[in-house]
Assembly symmetry: D2
Homo-oligomer: 284 residues x 4
């Protein structure tokens, strides 16, 4: 039988907290009740925290502001590690000129733009003028017409052998208590299979996401190590699998993807084993 641990007991053992956002801190109704108490506890006990999110649709600044509007003032842009930041680092290191085409909203293009690179929405792309397109970045499922623009992206990739960066590894995201929408990660799987080329994916469970946060921890306090960090998430395939592989202890919370009655069978059938299972990330 599955043991349910008290999150307060678990929290006492760690110095640094990596949180998933959706299903852990918030859901489609807003903040999960009690979460502000958890952040008060972290503040009072001077514990570090980071939010690791596969959401490249908005900048860290915009993501932080969305918490402020819900009344959670503890979260600053510096606390947020988004998969879009890894896409931006890749572009900075590897694509330093020309135009980068993208699928997503104008907000999401924030991760592309720089003095060296021009960002161009696939919806604006002319297939007869693609000679200076040096990469395609998939950022968000909104901001373009799927019927025409996914076909355009397919034909672009048949003609130009360029890297394709996917800044979101999720297949779906919840839009209400009962409904989901297809995420750009799910769309990317389709395009990758159709064009037969290997895309570059950033986001949990990939180690680079955890590394990015880990480097910030080291900058703050080099005396800490992986043993001092716990990853808290509601999804086995991304949060728990990625945290485990990076060598962190992990907490599965039951406020999101996985209802309490399914937790045991899901852990058994996937073989993805969290260190702890807690009702929620609420201390109180």
């Amino acid at each position: 039988m599955l043991t349910i641990d008290s999150f307060a007991d678990v929290a006492a053992r760690y110095q640094v907290f990596f949180f998933d956002a959706f299903g852990v801190l918030k859901n489609s109704h807003g903040l999960i009740p009690g979460i502000p108490d958890t952040f008060a506890y972290l503040r009072e006990n001077q514990k570090q925290f980071y939010i690791l999110t596969n959401d490249a649709s908005r900048s860290p600044q915009q993501l932080a502001e969305s918490y402020w509007r819900m009344g959670l003032m503890d979260i600053t842009p510096d606390n947020i590690i988004s998969s879009g930041m890894l896409a931006r680092e890749y572009l900075e290191l590897k694509v330093n000129q020309g135009t980068v085409a993208y699928l997503g909203t104008e907000d999401s293009a924030h991760y592309i733009e720089s003095t060296e690179r021009k960002a161009l929405s696939i919806s604006e792309l002319n297939l007869d003028a693609i000679g200076d397109i040096n990469a395609l970045v998939m950022l968000d499922d909104e901001g373009f017409d799927w019927n025409t623009d996914l076909n355009k992206a397919t034909n672009l990739l048949r003609r130009r052998n360029i890297p394709v960066i996917v800044a979101n590894t999720d297949a779906t995201y919840p839009t209400s208590k009962t409904q989901v929408a297809i995420a750009i990660g799910g769309v990317a799987d389709m395009l990758e299979s159709i064009v037969g080329k290997q895309f570059i994916r950033f986001g949990k469970p990939d180690a680079q996401m955890f590394m990015f946060a880990y480097e910030r921890v080291m900058e703050q306090n080099p005396a800490l190590g992986k043993k001092d960090i716990v990853m808290i998430g509601d999804t086995l395939r991304t949060d728990i699998s990625g945290g485990n592989k990076f060598g962190l202890d992990t907490v599965l919370v039951l406020t999101g993807n996985i209802p309490a009655e399914d937790a045991e069978i899901r852990i058994r059938s996937t073989g993805i084993i969290p260190t702890y299972v807690c009702e929620s990330a609420v201390i109180g």
Copy 2:
């Protein structure tokens, strides 16, 4: 080195011809030059033929008429075996009441409608009234809005455990000499992976497509057998793989998917080995 055979020599050895349509008989410009001579040869020598197509967007009658408009009068609706016909047979045997939701054009819905079943486009579906939806059929990539209706289909399949029938196993289809469009088969792969349920696919290379044509051959002349039939196609993964597995001899023609210079490496790298390779299906 790859041996290229004369199609006239190959044709002389068989009594029955199974043709793929696109890339063999026609391309985006119309009939492939010389193809009417092949059908004259078949007529004069009283050889049977069938067209096996993964195209469920139109009825056999409409497909035959499209050949008539291009000047090829030999093809009747009875000569055409489309993957849509297998979807219709499935519905007749297994879904004999209620409403069948579909993704596709109104023309494609021809394969669903009957006195017992109502067809309903996903674009008309109300997610709050899905109690009598007994199947979802994916027929064509046109006729619906991908952004909204693929999300609708995803949510329908999360709430109702119903069979999903995919009447096209292709991932893309050509729209011009250099461009392709994503086919409903490619969209189906994405939805299947997202909802995590097994879909039912009809179309080459699946044996049922060949069986359907084979039964027609047997009705015409029970003395014939698989040794008398040859499958002619331009695609290794569907036409040649399916024909081989069904026990037929196969001809890869180089007028479609595979340019002559790539044929050898494609055969070697896939391990899908046609009995013959010919320049085209033209006798002349």
Copy 3:
């Protein structure tokens, strides 16, 4: 909630019965208690039956004898359709000369040997003399040394572009109430992924298996149709999925792979929906 039907009630509605063997008629202890009564019922009511098995390790004659030894005398070799028979038909139609290499026991090689073809176990193969090897057939997980002979098979397939036929689509098979062994189908998946070529698989859920049995039904009584046939199995992925797609009604029985308490969640999570669920295939 899942409805459990009486197998006697279901049986009364059909004229022809397709049975899976393991988990339906027998298990690791012998015949499932009560199964002889089912065959007495079929005999008395003059109903046809066939056993469709993904077991190519023995000939239909040997398989029938194994039932006789357990006291079930109704089953003749003619009632048995094994995936090995499809492999043999393929070889007869497509590989009519030279040597066919195989992985399996000497008993399993029965499906290869003929006056035109020589069978050669991979364990006897000399990699320096492979010029006349025209196919590789994977029949059984026993009869060869995995360490050396799977490496031999890999190197054979890198040097000769020949068809590979897999006469068993199962990944594992039970060896006792609690243990399983890896089946040749599981080994084939590994080799296929390693050599990167497409193998030809015979066995449920593939339509050709059902077609083979269906043709026998038609020979016995051409007035019957798919509506008169029911497929009975313990495995969703092979028996039920294949039966459904072929257009047959299907019965999931709970005497094998799926314990009663898991049936509902498995049906829901896979989307493979049997027409009926029964405790067993026992009439009594």
Copy 4:
């Protein structure tokens, strides 16, 4: 057309070199001719280097000694990053008691043993006494009997929900100029698919392998960054894909996996694009 660059020109641009081993520094005949000159150049120019290898069959000490025996004395154990080291780090962080079962040779078990953990070869495992087995590690394809021990591993994983660590992501490795053997990574893919649970894989192209080497670079010289490092390999799927994603420039050399005449088509068909292509990693 593919441009071939001079390795000497490329080398001049970087301060740190990450090398793959097999196909870059050595092949089945020994050192690739001229490689000692490359290491003399690195020594004379005080450039750092690391060897990143998906080989967990031997310790860094044993791997370094194998270079010494071939006459290359520049390589010390500290220069070698093996996937086995990542497996060991995982065990140290996450499995700190009980017994760890393994598939591999006794030499490979070096990566498991510690004062807290006992290592047990699957060949010694008694399936009736598995209560203290807390992980399974797959290290090497030798040292066990595949027929019996892979079945044992399958049954172990059906009964105990424990993490499975795969310390090698390669599917095959070369044993001579023309032959390959199945690597433990290929065997792991089969077991993972059979038991249906998610395994934890360490090795290129995974970011953790590169991070491990990168941390050593930072310890030596914190002023360096990813722009100063180049990854040199003969395999697109591991060396080049992993290096690119980590943000490094990459060199594909043609002394291993990919013959010169295939390089262009492989790069185009996979979409894995090296920064440079060079004949070899030889400077001279």
